[in-house]
Amino acid sequence: MTLLDIDNLHVKLEDEDREIIRGLTLAVNPGEVHAIMGPNGSGKSTLSYVLSGREGYQVTEGSVTYKGEDLLEMPPEERAAKGVFLAFQYPIEIPGVATMQFLKVALNSQRKARGEKELSTPDFMRLVKDRAAKLNVSQDMLKRPVNVGFSGGEKKRAEILQMAVLEPSLCILDETDSGLDIDALRVVAEGVNALRSPDRAMIVITHYQRLLDYIVPDFVHVLSKGRIVKSGDKSLALELEEKGYAEFTQDAA
């Protein structure tokens, strides 16, 4: 069964008339990695926010079906409990909430929503320590408030750590490469690759081809002016790197 089925999606900002997503169609199956590439303003981040349920957007047409259910009907926390995870382009800093506490409440809220038993503190600690070590996330970072005082690279690693702990079915990575130097990019990409599995799908949103050298996609889609104008395999990303987006944005116009 298709994991995510986006059909002729149209989205506008609630308080503006201009459409940002204009008839986007995309099907994602378990195990697949889809890269969505596009220039600034093509609707990449809007797509990630609409999928995760952020307020302020209005779907005017089309549908999003996730695991056979209408995703757009669900509040963000229900989407999360059912396995949708957005790694934010700009992870939010939350003063006063320790990262460990946040992770535990998040994981146990999801487990509770799914009718699973909550994880005990020792079991939870073991899980986080194991995942954190693989991503080079220090104990000190875990004790600090969520993302507060983290460097750009630390924030992105912390997002991937959350993903590794919450084990979602659909990971949406919004410009995960932005603000990362090459070493940080490698660590993050390794973390993401470790989570690739036959039951899990990923949508990797990026402006640059660079990230896709490390997270190799099964499909590449070019997003322009709110719709997918070309799809192909990983070689399309290389073509884009060479020629730029101009050709595609013209086609779409």
């Binding site: 926390e77 999360a80 939010i92 006063g96 409440v105 809220s109 929503a113 969520v146 919450l166």
Partner: protein, 390 residues
């Protein structure tokens, strides 16, 4: 005060004119208008059987190991106390109306002189039991000897309708340290008027935290004076207010000598029609160079009808100082709420987590782990209660 103005029934019972909005310090808390019934002073009230035990058990610090001094309806209760009073003289002369009433009506209070390092916290518990409306006034005098250190908790609990007037005088000696934690959990039908007057001497460290969650009407004054150099004072507080509660804190920090540091941090959570006020004044006297004085107040308004007023003031008569103030007030940050929800945390729980984090910053100034944990538990219970009421 104008003698031509007829006394209200409340003023008649007290024999005092109450402060009103035409007095700048009282502009947001017009006691003349807000105290709408008589609370006669010097009423002897016996507690009914079980009342004291029940109220003691309701204290957030019931589980914290402490040396207790219990005052019931304004009188020392030897049966429930472990520590008895010492002879320490009151020296503060304050002309503020709360203090004048206290001088006239105080029946008892804790008197302590601390020598050496006292590790176990000392808790003063003030209990007012349910009886006819009256004024209950207590006065505490605490002296921390040179080089001594202690942690003192002041817990105010009660049931029924009364006016609690509580004044605490503190003198902190050279190289001494005092951690003071006050929690105001008076009955929802009570009025709480207080003044803390603290004198901080050379090299001393003073940390003060006040939680305001009880009473329908609360006014707490604080006067802090630095009289010796290189001393440090951190004064913080949290409000957890709902319904029609009204709380007003007015602090005056006086830097009278050079090289002292003061920090004020208030985190105020207000729901329903609650009204919170924070007035903080820092005075730097001539010659008090290298003063480092900062104050901030932050309010979180959980409803459209809650209100917060802040009035920071700086009065500086020295030229080499670092002083500042900041005040914010607003709703929960929507991006924060969304981020938590996007990780699977339900909205109500996400908000509770953020509110707890907001007030928690003020709890961080409490160094004693057991006391801080008790405060965090109290805040968590308050939030659950608030959610339950919808």
């Amino acid at each position: 005060m104008n003698a031509a103005i007829a006394r209200t029934a409340a003023e008649e019972a007290l024999g005092f004119h109450l402060p009103n909005r035409r007095m700048e310090e009282w502009r947001w808390t017009d006691l003349r208008q807000l105290i709408d019934k008589p609370y006669p002073p010097r009423q002897k009230v016996e507690a009914k059987g079980g009342d004291v035990e029940r109220l003691l058990a309701s204290s957030p610090f019931a589980g914290v190991a402490a040396t207790r001094m219990v005052f019931v309806n304004g009188e020392y209760d030897a049966k429930h106390s472990k520590q008895s009073n010492a002879f320490v003289e009151s020296t503060a002369a304050l002309d503020d109306p709360v203090n004048l009433m206290n001088v006239a009506f105080a029946t008892d209070g804790a008197r302590l002189r601390i020598e050496g390092n006292v590790d176990t916290p000392i808790e003063f518990v003030f209990i007012s039991t349910d009886a006819s409306p009256r004024t209950v006034a207590t006065r505490n005098v605490i002296e921390i000897a040179d080089d001594a250190s202690a942690t003192i908790i002041e817990t105010h609990l009660g049931e029924g309708s009364y006016l609690a007037n509580s004044v605490t005088e503190i003198r902190i000696g050279h190289n001494a340290r005092l951690d003071r934690v006050k929690v105001e959990l008076e009955s929802h039908d009570a009025v709480h008027l207080a003044h803390a007057h603290v004198i901080v001497d050379r090299n001393a460290a003073f940390r003060d935290f006040t939680l305001t969650a009880g009473a329908k009407l609360n006014r707490q004054n604080g006067t802090f004076r630095f009289i010796g150099e290189f001393a440090d004072a951190k004064v913080s507080g949290a409000y957890l207010l709902a319904g029609k509660q009204h709380a007003d804190t007015r602090l005056v920090v006086g830097h009278e000598v050079a090289n002292c540091a003061s920090r004020e941090l208030f985190k105020c959570v207000m729901d329903g029609h609650a009204r919170g006020i924070f007035q903080g004044k820092v005075i730097v006297r001539p010659g008090a160079q290298k003063t480092d004085g900062k104050q901030s107040s932050h309010a979180l308004l959980l409803s459209e009808t809650a209100e917060f007023d802040a009035k920071p003031e700086l009065e500086i008569y020295a030229d080499d100082v670092a002083c500042g103030h900041g005040a914010t007030s607003g709703d929960l940050n929507h991006d924060h709420v969304f981020y938590l929800k996007s990780r699977g945390i339900p909205e109500a729980e996400a908000k509770a987590l953020l509110i707890a984090a907001f007030v928690g910053e003020a709890f961080d100034t409490v160094h004693h782990d057991g006391i801080r944990a008790a405060l965090e538990d109290f805040a968590a219970r308050w939030l659950t209660e608030r959610r339950r009421k919808g």
